[in-house]
Symmetry: C2
Subunit: 110 residues, 2 copies
DNA sequence: TTGACGAGTAAGTGATCTCTTACGCATCCT
DNA sequence: AGGATGCGTAAGAGATCACTTACTCGTCAA
């Protein structure tokens, strides 16, 4: 009981890989078995399994076994760290938008 | 002219490292010279420089030289890929919220 | 002009990533 | 029972990462 089995890899790291984002995008539509997911990629099925493992470990996916299939399902809440972090920057987009609007309204005043 | 000097590292990769997100957060407040940025971290200054380079290459920062100082400035627009990608999942949070609300209103109907 | 300072680059090292092939193990089907 | 199927794990190779120390270079100040 000394080992720490709860290694939850960072969500940012999990989504930093294009293939893993694509997996999440796929699963945003529906829960899917590995075979269907793997079909979308050029890489080998074990490679897909490894990506799934990373997503699973990071808590972004859950797994349900149906016979010999394993269905993966997205846990969108776990994307919160990314959403929250990027959310900080909303004001920049707003600001810039506002500045642009101001600029446009000013130039159209002529 | 055969070389491709425009290697723009992926923004997702750039922000996947905690230190680099912290650098961006720092620069969200104000444009800063390296010395001030480096003070915030335990790692060596060259290490910070290397992170700044990655952010610069990814287009997330711009650099301005003031004498012997280099001031780095954030380019929040370049975070758009992250914002847009995570934006896809807004509906999930909304959906869940709605489902929760439905559930709550249903259970409170008793 | 000379030394201190701000900051990037070089080189090297160990850790981690990402992929592959080979294999193992249930489960399903006949 | 026995082969096919779905999928994970093991092992290993090569690439990349994230740091370090040592060095270089331009700028500022005395």
């Amino acid at each position: 009981m000394v080992e720490t089995l709860n290694r939850k890899p960072d969500v940012f790291t999990a989504v930093s890989h294009r293939a893993r984002r694509q997996i999440l995008d796929l699963l945003a539509g529906a829960e899917l078995p590995v075979s269907v997911i793997a079909k979308q990629f050029e890489m080998s099925r074990p490679a897909v399994s490894q990506h799934l493992r990373i997503l699973l470990d990071s808590g972004l996916l859950t797994e349900q076994r149906h016979g010999r299939e394993r269905h993966y399902q997205i846990v969108p809440e776990r994307l919160a760290p990314v959403r929250d972090w990027i959310g900080q920057y909303e004001r920049f987009w707003d600001d810039r938008l506002m500045r642009l609007q101001k600029h446009l309204s000013k130039t159209s005043e002529v």
